[in-house]
């Protein structure tokens, strides 16, 4: 119990360090958060000064940091520089599209990973294993945006089977239509992750298969299917940890895919905000995605402790 508590408390300083990094990143830039207005001829120095004061940017940096942090923790994420709406509103309206894409990709990636990873581990060093491993290397070498553009070209432009971008059509927005829009971006995101996950599952399962209890099970004459089932169950725990962590990274990793397919999610919001130097949105995006990583890391660690008696002692 105290170990669990200690692990939870460890996340707090980490989050504080991340917040300092994010704050420093934006505020130590030359020209500060208002740099983009410096190039605008319609904004006079007096305007700039007024803006600076109204946003509280004239205060000392530590004061600004503390008030930003306090605001962030209490859910006051400030207002978007580009359209003046609350940052939280902008993020919440984009979240469902990203969650939809990430969930679909997660399911597809797991459907690919589980069979291929297990087959590769069981048939280690066979031709099948080698083919799978080579394919996974290809997967991690694939530039996501280029792959996305190619899929768009082939399946949307040339074959006309699927819509090339967006989340729904202008006129219809039924389930079938939304599913069609989901296919291409989810495929890109799923394949990229399936490649990494298959490698991981293969090595995790391979490790379990070389352990003594597997040998003992075989020695007792347990059918090979049962042996593999046991091994898989043991390999699934570390594998689930990796998947959980990757799911957090997927949300922000969708930046590229969402931009290629004009998917109206958080990734799209991020690239828009980047183009307009919308710093309040960028800071909130970085903080939220880092927090998601830290929290899911914590969840993975704790559930590991809960599920695996070997870690507990």
């Amino acid at each position: 119990m105290t170990a669990t508590l200690r692990r939870i408390l460890q996340a707090v300083p980490l989050l504080l360090l991340i917040s300092i990094l994010v704050f420093a990143l934006i505020h130590l830039a030359p020209g500060g958060p208002l740099a983009i207005y410096l190039e605008n001829p319609n904004v006079t120095p007096a305007d700039l000064e007024r803006l600076r004061r109204s946003l509280g940017l004239d205060r000392p940096l530590p004061v600004q940091y503390l008030s930003w942090l306090a605001g962030f923790v209490t859910g006051d994420w400030g207002f978007s520089f580009s359209d003046g709406r609350p940052v939280m509103t902008r993020i919440l309206e984009r979240l469902p599209a990203t969650l939809e894409l990430v969930t679909a990709s997660l399911v597809v990636a797991l459907l690919i990973t589980l069979p291929t990873g297990v087959i590769a581990a069981v048939r280690r060093r066979s031709a099948v294993d080698r083919a799978i491993v080579t394919l996974t290397v290809a997967g991690i070498s694939l530039p996501a945006f280029w792959f996305g553009l190619l899929l768009q070209l082939v399946f949307a432009v040339w074959l006309g089977w699927l819509p090339s971008s967006g989340r729904t059509s202008l006129l219809s927005s039924g389930f079938g239509d939304r599913l069609q829009h989901l296919v291409l971006p989810a495929t890109v995101l799923a394949l990229l992750h399936a490649a990494a996950w298959t490698r991981y599952l293969r090595s995790a399962m391979g490790q379990v298969l070389s352990q003594r209890f597997v040998l003992a099970a075989r020695g007792r004459g347990l059918p090979e299917r049962r042996v593999r089932y046991h091994a898989l169950r043991n390999a699934l725990l570390p594998f689930a940890t990796v998947v959980l962590l990757d799911a957090a990274i997927m949300v922000s990793g969708a930046v590229v895919t969402e931009s290629v397919f004009a998917w109206p999610g958080l990734g799209g919001l991020f690239t828009e905000a980047l183009a307009r130097r919308d710093y309040t949105v960028l800071m909130a995006f970085l903080m939220l995605s880092s927090t998601a990583v830290v929290v899911l890391n914590l969840v993975a660690d704790l559930s590991y402790r809960l599920l695996d008696p070997r870690v507990r002692s």
Binding site: L14, A35, P143, F145, L149, L153, S290
Partner: protein, 267 residues
């Protein structure tokens, strides 16, 4: 290179691939009859043909020539960023593992912090703010890529310091920096080589992603990423503009990663 013969073979294969790419990049002007910026406005947006194997772009420049020249930028960034990030990671990991105590705790908290912030968005913000030149771009790509190496090297160092030969060196009066340099670093090198190999492909993909979003290598310099950035609008009418630079990224990353894969698990 130390290690098993299979390691060495894999390393040699990688060296051959990277060497071939480098040679192609270096002699790019000799391979192509066109100059990299020579535009022929009468031959704009030509599909691939016998005279222009990869076609021409919207300014009538030869795409094959630009892909060959782009190799210089993309490979330079991939190789140098990988080298820099691995050196940084090895240094952080070895010092943390060897020094222990507060230094270890501080370095590992730093590692955890950078590791928790999503890599590509962080890099995109850095690049958008700093508008980096190519050397600075290399530093930035390395700055977000050293953490995994640091962790692996630290773990290995921690297990090495308990071993007899390190204790012996210490008992014989070798200074602590001496032990680090003479006994620890050589013994973690194999891990650093593996992570550096994998970092080459990743760094190249990072560069191309940054350039694809217009915050990486700036035109008129050609990199594979910024050629894709310029091509994405005309994907339907001139697909060759996007096809070839992307293929170059994919094939190079694949070659390097396959070599890295053989290094981690000799076949």
């Amino acid at each position: 290179m130390s290690g098993a013969p299979a390691d060495r073979a894999a390393f040699r294969r990688m060296a051959v691939v990277v060497g071939a790419c480098l040679v192609i990049a270096l002699i790019a002007p000799l391979l192509s009859p066109y100059a990299v910026d020579a535009s022929d406005l009468t031959l704009r947006r030509q599909a691939p043909s016998a005279t222009h194997w990869f076609g021409t772009d919207d300014l009538g420049r030869d795409v094959l020539t630009r892909v060959l020249h782009g190799a210089r930028v993309s490979l330079a960034i991939g190789l140098l960023a990988a080298l820099l990030s691995s050196a940084l990671g090895a240094a952080v990991g070895a010092v943390a593992g060897f020094a222990g105590g507060r230094i270890d705790a501080a370095l590992m908290r730093l590692t955890d912090t950078v590791l928790a912030v999503p890599r590509l968005p962080l890099l995109m913000i850095l690049a958008a703010i700093l508008q980096p030149s190519i050397p600075l771009l290399i530093v930035l790509v390395a700055a977000v890529g050293w953490m995994e190496t640091a962790r692996v090297v630290r773990a290995e160092t921690l297990s090495l310091v308990t071993r007899g030969f390190v204790e012996a060196a210490s008992a014989l009066g070798l200074s602590r920096p001496g032990i680090l340099r003479r006994h620890l670093l050589p013994n973690v090198m194999h891990l650093v080589v593996v992570s550096a190999t994998l970092a080459v492909g990743r760094s190249m993909l990072m560069e191309s992603a940054l350039s694809f979003f217009g915050v990486g290598v700036q035109p008129p310099a050609a990199s594979w990423g910024n050629m894709l950035y310029q091509a994405q609008g005309s994907m339907t009418s001139e697909p060759w503009l996007a096809l070839f630079p992307g293929l170059a990224i994919f094939v190079t990353a694949l070659a390097v990663n396959l070599a890295g894969d053989r290094l981690t698990e000799p076949a």
